[in-house]
Symmetry: C3
């Protein structure tokens, strides 16, 4: 469908007009993408994407899950199996997706895809059974054009900087290539050491051993483990990293006495771990990372409260990140207490906190961010990165946290073409939110434009300590 | 008060106009009422309702509780006592109700009652101390007219099908009469075996014994108990049932090893139950019911999270379902895990989940329904079956679950005349929600009308596997 | 910035016009302030406030916390230290505050301060680095004028009655002075015995001993302790108290058997308390206070769910109530069960419940208040006393609790000048809420005006049993 220039704005004339004015002042700002999951190989190699299905369908867990919920199997959708058995080819999968495109009415997926189809491919037709083949062919043909190579897409989208996310053991080969191309800064990595901080991750003990090999530190000792992190963080910074990132099912942090740390690590590495040890180790490692952040200035991102892989069949057949992760409640007041009481006042330390539990926004996170100097709130994450999610977020955080304890926007996406679409939704939703304040006479138009710019551009640069 | 044709629509001209267009396209659709608590005797016997108080006041827990909260006793309101002591007569109770009708401003009860008074009785006057007697007399006089007999009300309301709810031991005598009248299909039963699946229900052990008598199965053995359910479900299906229904204080499900099942049943029947046994039995029985649903195709409804009978005085004096049930928090991610990991992908299995905890809508239920093929979301239940409750529900579920993982609407009512009123509120609230999307240019008018029809009519038929 | 006459009203013309009509009918009603934390010395002594900083900055935890969150220290903000070390003077602190006034965009603090600057000082300029000194001087000059003495401010704000809050051991010297001046009624105290009901409060055992001294009762015995409360409550009533107030981190209440009470008190006073004893004592004391309320008619306020002093550094350096208290989840259904099952039906007993957990409003509190005669809901508290917080509150409570189980508004403030500002925000937010109902044709204009008056004035008088 065609994308209306006033989409997502309020219905009444006065607010809509104010929203349009505000939006126009930020619509063309460059994109800061300080957190996401795009593949650095795209930018290092700059090769065409293979086809429409591999671009829009098979890697997009939002899309796959919705189609699965309505009875389409992952085989039919062409998602590769670990056992190598055949799945549907790209065109066939695309046809099924297109025929079921009505399922996405009202969802952000539809917004992002409609936006991408027009923005990248000039396609205004609505995806459907009837248009499936034609759109598939159009996309595939255009994907080989120079203007749709990954780096060209970044340029067309006015991406000023984009961060990928790599595990602690990642060899960063693509970022090395990018460095040789002089593209560090346009592309950055992010230090996400879950592979060696989460005892529930596959091959945890082997990963710890591997961390020793690549750093020369004795990672079986607590101090060696921290030293190894210190070295990896320094290396990641050479590839543009200004931030670390940490995921956990809860918001728990810990501040163990020194004498308890080595025994905890010993239990985990020797297979004698007790029930709570994995949680405790994750909790303590957040605090250790904060200590290292005090040394090296890296911003600590904490993504808490996703229960991963709730469908063991999907996990066994095809692996993670395909749609079966479900949010759960978090307890940031008690969870972050150890960390904040230790470092919440430390100049130069910054934590950006993300969760999927909207019930803590007004009750806990906004008051906390409105007190602790170190704490900033990440934008709405995952299922809440949507027009309604953004509206609820702003409604619930601004009064207690203000606008300046917010970390702006990040798209957090695996889908390259969704980046301009997602930033556009954010800028529109922000503009509408501010416009309603203007209409309600609680914000002047020039303050509204200044805040829109802050939320669309400056806040993310400031929060992630990106160069001005 | 008079019912404005644009009631519940947004204030701005453009949205209101769009809402009116959408609403007009669904206002006259037949009513599908796949879940509720009307009395099958009404339809089998088709006798006039006795008087206004017994129609609007004494059976309506919404109305009784509000009046009680403001100091009117249940005696004064004419609610029968278990000890047989006298309570106020209908007219006296009605007068007190009418004199306090201002207490219902802003509540759905007032909407439903105003709607019913006009729709059924042509009464446009506002209920008050002054109009109490006149309205009481008007209602009583009209109740004897043929057009206000229960079956005529169904016809006038365009009810295409209505499901009542009966316990496992119910003899279904009224449904037998309805079968003889050829009215199965217009009226259906629903299999709600809480009397034999909830060990906390009164006379649980006696009920299990009675289940054995009426089925000829040995219900003291686990396999016999399941066989008994199988027989009762088959019988209920003969009386139109397409669904089962299960209520529990939590969302817990279990998947016990076979060897643990019989000992659990033994403990419960012998009075040696341990603290968690009742909860565990309820949790396991949900999964057993799902297994039977796989065999017989019945849709499993799960109503979780109402804490029943929180006022023991009311319970002792007059019994359940009179206003002292209060919602509590639920944990569907962990609670439903056993069931979904076992049957969440099974073709043909369907669970419709209801709860009263809005904090799980965006965080848990919408993402879960947007993944698991077996899971659909029931509409806002009980206290949330209201204009604002519906608006919050749609706001929180649509972006992650889409519209097609929703089970449409059910009125869930004990009050016959509230059925057209409740469906009308739903259709209006849906129309306004969709109209705001139209105004925000994120939905086209024809898609909006199609979705309005889906949510008002087709979705319920599809979700409950009702004949087309 | 200038305060627009239609601020906080909806954007569409029809709703805005209705809101204005409703608001105009309540804008000039007297202020009932039945719960707050103003200093009774202000009214007893009626001396000028010293300067702008001590009026607007150093006592306002909302303002301090926000500035601290953005890197300004409490030293720089002029907040006294316990160790007596110097902090910034008033003018310097004020300059820093003014230079960072943009941080308050979108927060209620800015609304209250802008309102106060104009209402009390006729200042229309926006606070900023540039205007800081000029505004500081203007305020300081005007503070000495008779019209800005504390009692004159009450009169100018049309305060009909205002309640302060004193601990059980408070000597009430200012209220004694006020009695001599004939001002009891204009000013009242409130009995807040947390100093002797919360075992976690500093010097609890000493406080219990002191309570014995001032009452002549043996407070080491349970019955003597209750008798001492009875005497203090009677004394507080002589100084206008119609209510008690109780704060706790949870909503827990208890109903211990008599034989368990003395041992609990013994453990607490002898330093042999077990882990749960403090919580249990607080829980039991709520119920004891309810028993005394049955005797003496005092209204019981319960403020549950603030985790106090989450920054131990701030607490150690400067004391409590400076911005580091953070809300947490509460469980009113289970928490209040003991109390409500005992006294929830008792004629003459009234509890007004406040919490900071919005997730319980629609799910638990509104249904509970819509059932139990004794329970009323307090208005949005603390972080939620804001335009958006009020809107969410009304949206979530009215449909199940109606308007008549709400206790109206209280400002709960430590900042005298914020009183008219806060009541004005409430009246505007209420007017807008009701106006949207009028526009949606679910409320007539005269009912809307009646409800606006109820919520702005009468409800608070009725809830707190204030003289008509």
């Amino acid at each position: 469908m065609s994308l209306h220039p006033d989409r997502f704005f309020s219905g009444d004339h006065q607010t809509r007009s104010a929203a349009r004015d505000i939006y126009e002042s930020v619509a063309d700002l460059p994109i800061i993408s300080p957190h996401g999951h795009t593949d650095p190989a795209w930018f290092a190699e700059n090769r065409p994407f293979p086809d429409a299905a591999s671009l829009f369908l098979t890697p997009d867990h939002y899309v796959l899950r919705m189609l699965f919920s309505q009875g389409l199997t992952y085989d039919v959708l062409g998602v590769p199996r670990r056992d190598g058995k055949p799945v549907a080819d790209g065109r066939t999968a695309w046809q099924r997706f297109a025929a079921n495109y009505h399922l996405f009415l009202g969802t952000p997926s539809r917004t992002w895809i409609d936006h991408s189809l027009r923005w990248a491919f000039g396609i205004d037709e609505t995806l459907s059974a009837e248009t499936a083949d034609r759109i598939f062919d159009t996309i595939n043909r255009k994907l080989t054009e120079p203007g749709l190579l990954p780096l060209a897409i970044l340029e067309k989208a006015k991406v000023e900087t984009i961060a990928t996310t790599e595990f602690a053991l990642d060899p960063l080969v693509h970022h090395q290539a990018l460095r040789q191309q002089g593209r560090i800064g346009l592309v950055r990595t992010t230090y996400r050491p879950d592979d060696v901080t989460d005892p529930d991750s596959p091959a945890f003990a082997a990963n710890i051993a591997r961390l020793s090999e690549i750093t020369g530190e004795d990672t079986a000792s607590w101090s060696g483990l921290i030293a190894a992190h210190r070295k990896r963080r320094a290396l990641f910074r050479e590839f543009g990293a200004t931030a670390t990132d940490h995921a956990a099912p809860t918001a728990m942090t810990a501040d163990l006495p020194e004498c308890d740390k080595q025994p905890l690590l010993d239990r985990l590495l020797s297979g004698r771990a007790e029930t709570e040890d994995a949680e405790l180790f994750r909790a303590q490692m957040i605090t250790e990372m904060a200590m290292l952040s005090l040394e090296d200035g890296m911003v600590l991102q904490f993504h808490a409260g996703s229960r991963r892989n709730t469908d063991p069949v999907l996990m066994a057949e095809r692996g993670p990140n395909l749609g079966a992760d479900i949010p759960v409640r978090v307890d940031p007041v008690r969870g972050l207490e150890s960390l904040l009481q230790k470092f919440g006042r430390s100049p130069g330390f910054r934590m950006i906190f993300f969760c999927l539990d909207e019930s803590v926004l007004a009750r806990e996170l906004a008051p906390m961010a409105g007190y602790w100097p170190a704490l900033m709130l990440g934008p709405p994450w995952w299922f809440h990165d949507s027009p309604r999610g953004i509206a609820r977020y702003l409604d619930q955080v601004v009064e207690s946290a203000g606008f300046h304890n917010l970390a702006g926007f990040n798209d957090d996406t695996r889908a390259l073409l969704s980046i301009p679409a997602r930033h556009d939704v954010w800028r529109r939703a922000v503009s509408d939110f501010l416009a309603r304040m203007v209409t309600a006479s609680t914000l002047g138009p020039s303050d509204a434009r200044a805040l829109a710019r802050w939320l669309s551009y400056d806040a993310a640069k400031a929060a992630y300590k990106l160069p001005a």
